[in-house]
């Protein structure tokens, strides 16, 4: 099940080592660069267990949790996008285009407003809000949105075009409700919601990383299970069945995995749009259609792109940092548009 076009050369042997090098470089850059300048030797001291308390606080409590959360979220977005693109046979599928992100955003907004207005009407500081529960709230919403699209998709006969259009429609409805709720009731907490809406790693703690870890681990652990079906699902239902695959079952499982990965990631860091869309394409661009190589490359590049995007956002604004969701939208949208021009 390698390339189905003779024009595509065998993948290069240096791809994975190069990717590993890229990971190291971007990780080092993310740790060593930041708004607060810390001398490199101090950072090395912190990493080896020493260092001043101030440097330790910045590196261990601010930068590292943020980087780890970003890496996990990046892996999840990219993997979710790859699975979605493969099973819908739609090269343009992406959690942010399919309503999953919008569903997660809606439940997070509802949760914040609910806690502010029902349980905590007098609260005025961020610290009093149950922010630790936001990832869970977002995950639930994203899964529900995914479920709605799944049900519609089966009624519509799994046509990629219809699934995509339904995803757009559901996404638009959920997004409108979110914006409406914020406008109608969100005045007190609007900035938290806005920042979260734009997709941000700002102030992410080890708690966020710990929340994501089981999802990332489960997603990676399920991969061997859906690996062969995924390769077959690239073709259509008939081909998959002729290989003895229960199409409906495998499609459902893959969609569930994809939704869980995307929803929990959106729940933790907000909708970082286009990572799920662009990264698998980048991987395919580098590795041809060699799925055994596309898969690991997608995972690695997802982590790298979110790490670098967040670093750019952190450094670009200095005082007022640019949320990574804004960075990826500004880079990703033109990439998608260029892609659309090429895809027949």
């Amino acid at each position: 099940m390698t390339s189905n076009s003779p024009a595509i050369a065998q993948p290069n042997a240096w791809l994975l080592p190069a990717a590993a090098l890229l990971v190291l470089i971007s990780l080092a850059a993310a740790v060593f660069l930041g708004v607060v300048d810390i001398p490199a030797e101090d950072i090395v001291a912190v990493l080896t267990g020493g260092g001043s308390s101030e440097a330790r606080a910045i590196i261990l409590d601010i930068r590292l949790p943020r980087i780890v959360t970003g890496i996990l979220a990046g892996i999840q977005f990219a993997l979710a996008g790859l699975i979605l693109q493969t099973i819908t046979r739609n090269p343009l599928a992406d959690p942010s285009l399919m309503g999953v992100s919008q569903g997660a955003t809606l439940t997070v907004t509802i949760f914040l407003l609910f806690t502010v207005y029902i349980f905590n009407p007098g609260s005025h500081t961020v610290a009093e809000l149950p922010i630790g529960w936001l990832p869970a709230a977002g995950t639930v919403g994203g899964m529900i949105a995914g479920g709605i699209i799944y049900l519609l998709a089966f009624r519509l006969g799994l046509s990629p075009l219809r699934i995509t259009l339904c995803g757009i429609a559901i996404g638009a409805i959920l997004h409108a409700i979110t914006i409406g709720l914020i406008a109608g009731w969100g005045s007190a907490r609007i900035e938290i919601i806005l920042e979260w809406l734009s997709g941000s790693l700002y102030a992410r703690t080890w708690d966020h990383a710990l929340f994501l870890l089981p999802f990332t681990a489960a997603g990676l652990a399920v991969l061997p299970l859906i690996y062969r079906p995924l390769i077959l699902l690239q073709f259509d239902a008939a081909v998959a069945r002729s290989f003895g695959l229960s199409y409906r079952k495998q499609f459902s499982l893959a969609l569930l995995v994809s939704c869980a990965l995307a929803a929990s990631a959106v729940g933790s860091v907000g909708p970082i749009v286009f990572v799920g869309l662009v990264v698998p394409h980048l991987a395919r661009f580098l590795a041809g259609r060699h799925f055994p190589l596309v898969l690991p490359l997608t995972i690695v590049l997802g982590a790298v792109i979110v790490t670098l995007g967040d670093l750019i956002g952190r450094l670009a604004g200095r005082a007022e940092e640019v949320p990574i969701g804004v960075v990826t939208a500004i880079v990703g949208a033109p990439a998608l548009l260029a892609l659309l021009r090429k895809v027949p």
Binding site: L92, S96, L97, L152, R155, L156, S159, L161, R162, T164, L165, C166, I168, A169, I170, A172, I173, H175, A176, I177, I179, G180, I182, A183, G184, W185, G186, S187, I190, E191, L194, E195, L197, S198, V273, F274, E320, V322, P323, G325, V326, A329, I330, G332, A333, P334, L336, L337, L340, R341, K342, V343, P344
Partner: protein, 334 residues
């Protein structure tokens, strides 16, 4: 449907809209009786009733009706122009294109008068539409490409808009209500700023209905009948974006009206393109007036943004159109 029936259909929709506008004068924080409203309408005096009617409720209801007609015709023009049943100011990115520069003006250039906002909206809408249509042409104008191109343009502009809102800080609450689409607190001056832009779009479309009818055939057919495509395409595009540019500064984005109204009008099968455009405008007015009335009465004294109501109404219509396979294009069934 012949011309007489078509004109009756349009009249019925217009009468229903006018009725809704009058009924809409009754409810609110202070509910008025019918004869109080009639008295205030016919003989305005300085009393609280006539102030409520003339300065608060009438202008916003009229603004909703005018905005609805404009957005609906905008959708009609975009759909005819692209021969794509999905085209709509929201889906093609035109709305996001109009909203982003207006938010940017509001936050970054606060000294710019709101009189100029529609111009900023027009420029942004044109730019966004150009990108989307350029992308859609790459896919031979297929609905999927148009939708994905439009949505990525929207996401791109939406990301910038949200970032600008973050920069705006405390101002963001008011802006947030505005970008969710609504007519709360709209005055005569909002209506007057919007009106010329909507008139340009609606009257322009009615005058050019013959050209538009040619466009809904194929490029070859239109060219064969002597329509200069390269001349009329940009004109129709500008005409289609004018109402959005005019409505956006006053009401923000109001989703799905431009998509749904032309489809509903076509379901009624009026005679000829001119009648279809008139019916589309009337239905758009009715939808937004009804949505606005719902938005401000459903949770008195709170107001919902009208954009939510139209999205809740229009989204399912969209899904229905997909399910019924009505989004056919060049032999491809959606």
């Amino acid at each position: 449907m012949d011309a007489r029936k078509s004109s009756i259909a349009i009249s019925l929709v217009v009468v229903a809209t006018l009725l809704l506008i009058v009924v809409g004068l009754l409810p609110g924080a202070k509910t008025l009786s019918i004869d109080a409203v009639v008295r205030a309408l016919l003989a305005p005096d300085g009393k609280i009733e006539s102030i409520l009617v003339w300065t608060l409720r009438l202008p916003r209801s009229l603004a909703a009706a005018v905005a609805g007609a404009g957005l609906a015709v905008s959708g009609y023009l975009l759909q005819s122009l692209t021969r794509n049943p999905l085209a709509d100011p929201g889906i093609t990115g035109v709305t996001a294109g109009a909203v982003a520069p207006i938010v940017a003006c509001f936050v970054l250039l606060p000294w710019v008068s709101s009189f100029y906002y529609p111009f900023a909206g027009l420029a942004g809408g044109l730019a966004a539409a150009s990108v989307t249509f350029w992308v859609a042409r790459g896919g031979n104008g297929r609905p999927l490409h148009l939708a994905l191109g439009g949505i990525s343009v929207s996401l791109f502009l939406g990301a910038i808009t949200i970032y600008v809102l973050l920069l705006a800080g405390p101002q963001s609450t008011a802006l947030m209500f505005w970008i969710s689409g609504g007519f709360a607190g709209r005055t005569w001056s909002h209506l007057l700023h919007m009106l010329p832009w909507v008139i340009i779009g609606v009257v322009g479309a009615l005058l050019l209905h013959r050209v538009i009818a040619m466009f809904s055939l194929s490029d070859h057919a239109a060219a064969g009948m002597g329509v200069q495509l390269n001349l009329w395409k940009p004109i129709l595009l500008v005409l289609g974006i004018c109402p959005v540019a005019g409505v956006a500064p006053a009401a923000g984005p109001v989703a799905f009206v431009g998509l749904a109204a032309p489809h509903i009008a076509r379901l009624l099968r009026p005679r000829g393109t001119g009648w279809e455009i008139g019916l589309t405008a009337a239905i758009g007015s009715l939808i937004v007036t009804a949505a606005d009335l719902t938005a401000r009465t459903i949770a008195i004294p709170k107001e919902l943004p009208v954009g939510i109501i139209t999205a809740l109404l229009g989204g399912p219509i969209f899904v229905y159109l997909i399910q019924r396979g009505r989004l056919e294009f060049k032999g491809e069934r959606a």
